[in-house]
């Protein structure tokens, strides 16, 4: 027997769960940036809590909390450029907002209104994908179009650990590999797919190794360390922009909340597991680090929370004031021009 191919998967972390540096932080990340990441993570958490509360009072419907995964959302958002295209699944509301989707659009979407995905900014970004993994081939197409048109942008798509079992994910990575499409696949390994734990999802030790099937590069990063996420995603994007082909990055994190507001996670996982996971909280970790370096104070924290709550409350008020969508809208936007055979249906809807 001789060895014809060999592979290894590497893991990166900068701040451990106590907020201690396990290796020097990347030189290009300034203290100001760190504080910004911190603010943005707190923003994500505050928004998330608000969204859950809105669901509980019937103002929006099913919502997928991102609590515990703030570092992922923030790290991706900061590493991406404006003209890159983001194709997220449903648990990246934070990244979407940080990229420019408005709070009102976000609430409209979870409030069951397509106007929420008409995005006034981020015009090229895809809307939230519910149908698991199906956005991954879209990302390959977006990336290939950018490559063929000579644009130096990258398509970034996110999936959960569960979604990594689905055929589309592999077909997409394989096709991207063959085409050399500038696409970054981000696998958010939060350990659970609703009630199915990672070990029942795949026998693969890491999600990163799934890229080996497609012959593309990959690595694993601590998804609760915003520095590692920013660094890992940033390095991957740089490689891709240099034409080094597609890449898969696995972000190891944990879903601290329920799967969605329709779920009750205590049915299938222990409190103990969850409280252990809280020790790896990405926000507390960075706060500890920043506080230790006197870059963040209690006062700042309180001011920040007040500001954020105000901003979000204002958006919620505006959202609630928006009038209901027209029923006829559901056929009017189906085709560029309404085909004659749909006119009768449009009329019925218009009368509703």
């Amino acid at each position: 027997m001789k060895t014809v191919a060999s592979f290894k998967i590497q893991y990166t972390q900068f701040l451990d769960q106590e907020g201690k540096e396990v290796q020097p932080l990347p030189a290009e990340i300034t203290d100001t940036q760190l504080a910004e990441y911190y603010r943005d993570m707190v923003f994500c958490r505050v928004f998330d809590k608000k969204a859950v509360a809105l669901q509980r009072t019937g103002r929006i419907s099913t919502y997928a909390p991102l609590i515990g995964q703030e570092a992922v959302d923030v790290g991706i958002a900061h590493a991406m450029k404006r003209d890159d295209v983001f194709l997220p699944y449903y648990r990246n509301t934070g990244t979407q907002i940080l990229r420019g989707v408005s709070l009102i659009e976000t609430l409209l979407y979870f409030g069951g209104d397509e106007r929420g995905t008409a995005f006034k900014e981020t015009r090229q970004d895809f809307p939230t994908q519910i149908n698991l993994s199906t956005q991954t081939p879209h990302a390959v197409g977006v990336a290939m179009a950018m490559k063929l048109q000579g644009e130096p942008h990258v398509a970034v798509t996110t999936v959960g650990d569960g979604a990594c079992s689905k055929g589309d994910f592999y077909e997409a990575m394989n096709l991207a590999g063959v085409w050399g499409a500038p696409v970054l696949f981000v696998a958010m390994n939060n350990q659970w797919a609703i009630s199915v734990p990672y070990e029942s999802q795949t026998a693969a030790k890491t999600l990163a190794q799934k890229a080996i099937a497609a012959g593309i590069g990959s690595e694993q990063v601590d998804g609760n360390d915003v520095v590692a996420v920013y660094d890992g995603v940033g390095r991957a994007l740089a490689l891709i922009r240099e034409g080094k082909g597609p890449y898969l990055i696995e972000l190891k994190t944990y879903r601290l909340g329920d799967h969605t507001t329709a779920d009750n996670a205590s049915r299938y996982r222990s409190d103990k597991e969850v409280s252990e996971a809280w020790k790896r909280d990405p926000i507390a970790r960075l706060r500890t680090y920043l506080s230790a370096r006197s870059l963040w104070t209690k006062d700042q924290e309180e001011k920040l929370l007040t500001e954020m709550n105000q901003r979000i409350e204002a958006a919620v008020e505006q959202y609630l004031a928006i009038e209901a969508p027209r029923a006829a809208g559901m056929v009017e936007h189906l085709f560029a021009e309404l085909p004659p055979d749909l006119e009768a249906q449009r009329k019925i809807l218009d009368g509703m």
Binding site: S61, T62, Y90, Y109, G111, G112, D113, E114, I130, N131, L132, S133, G162, A163, S165, K166, G167, D168, A193, I194, S195, V196, S200, Q201, T202, A262, D263, R267, Y268, A324, P325, A327, G329, M330, V331, L334, L342, Q345, I348, L349, M352
Partner: protein, 325 residues
């Protein structure tokens, strides 16, 4: 014991698993979690992890592996979490499950059931409200069965599991917990190729299935107040279709309105109307009207009640056929 439709499903599954140890369940979140609608609640505990198998997110492999298990003599009952996620498994279902028996002249077969909730009206996210019965009915070698009450869910599901061929069992999402009725857990099945007449009537035949039984019944109530007697037929077995019951009814009433929530065009209502336009033509005293979902993407939930056939739209159609010259 009075139970909801989803509880009746659980009862039927438990009964089938007790009666026949070849029966096993597979699907996403059906184990410890008991399914996102609790349709398999308690079964993992009762039957263990060799009878109740959680699967990865792989709709195609869920159906594909069920085919292999069925061909080897097991009786898999797979859950697809929502019918909108069945598209990814259609190749396995339509190209393979439905054809294995005929392509091997009966040497191998697929006694398997795919259970899946379908339809809208519960404020669920995108892709959670699709109704694919017409697509399935067009494809050879599978049965498509849709209960519309707890007792029919119990009896039809038991028969589906016992059937020697693949059955897609579509569970009406709005009826899951809509009402309760006593269901006798006696292991008794219901036939897979007959309609159910839910209400007898003389003036107009209302044909429907699944969730829409709610609005159709409301419409019939309203007509009754106006002195019009509507017959309600629940097709239940979309495939194999029992046209005799429908022909018989329309022969008496001369008028027919078909209601389903799937998109109107090429929906299964078209097949029934087409059969009436052929063999039933002489019975028709008025045009056959169909009330369906609009021919558009199922909207996010703020508009879903406009998308779905409303009692109002059903009544309008009834009036059109009743007023016809």
């Amino acid at each position: 014991m009075s139970v909801t439709l989803v509880q009746a499903v659980t009862m039927a599954l438990a009964r089938a698993m007790e009666q026949d140890d070849r029966v096993l369940l597979l699907g996403q979140d059906i184990g410890v979690n008991g399914g996102v609608f609790r349709a398999t609640d308690g079964l993992f505990k009762k039957f263990g992890d060799r009878r109740v198998l959680d699967t990865p997110i792989s709709e195609s492999a869920i159906i594909g592996s069920s085919i292999g298990m069925a061909a080897q003599g097991l009786r898999p009952v797979a859950e697809i979490q929502f019918m909108g996620f069945l598209y990814a498994g259609l190749d396995q279902l339509l190209s393979h499950a439905g054809r294995l028996r005929s392509r091997t002249r009966g040497r191998l077969s697929c006694p398997m059931v795919i259970r899946t909730p379908f339809g809208g009206g519960i404020r669920a996210p995108e892709h959670h409200a699709d109704s694919l019965e017409s697509i399935l009915a067009h494809s050879p070698g599978i049965r498509v069965v849709i209960p519309s009450s707890p007792s029919r869910a119990y009896g039809l599901l038991l028969s589906a599991i016992q059937d020697p061929d693949p059955v897609v069992f579509m569970e009406p999402i709005r009826l899951y917990r809509g009402s309760k009725e006593p269901v006798n857990d006696d292991g008794g099945g219901l036939p897979l190729d007959t309609c159910f007449v839910l209400r007898e009537g003389r003036d107009v035949t209302l044909v429907t299935w699944g969730n829409c039984v709610i609005e159709v019944s409301e419409a019939a109530d309203q007509l009754e107040e106006e002195g019009i007697s509507a017959e309600i037929i629940d097709v239940a077995s979309i495939s194999r279709l029992d046209m005799d019951t429908i022909f018989g009814s329309v022969e008496r009433t001369g008028r027919c309105v078909i209601v389903h929530e799937a998109a109107l065009t090429a929906g299964f209502g078209a097949e029934i109307a087409a059969r009436l336009a052929d063999e039933g033509l002489l019975s028709l005293r008025a045009p056959v009207k169909r009330v369906g979902g609009f021919d558009t993407a199922y909207p996010l939930y703020r508009l879903e009640n406009h998308y779905l056939p409303t009692t109002h739209r059903i009544l309008e159609a009834c009036r059109a056929v009743l007023d016809f010259e």
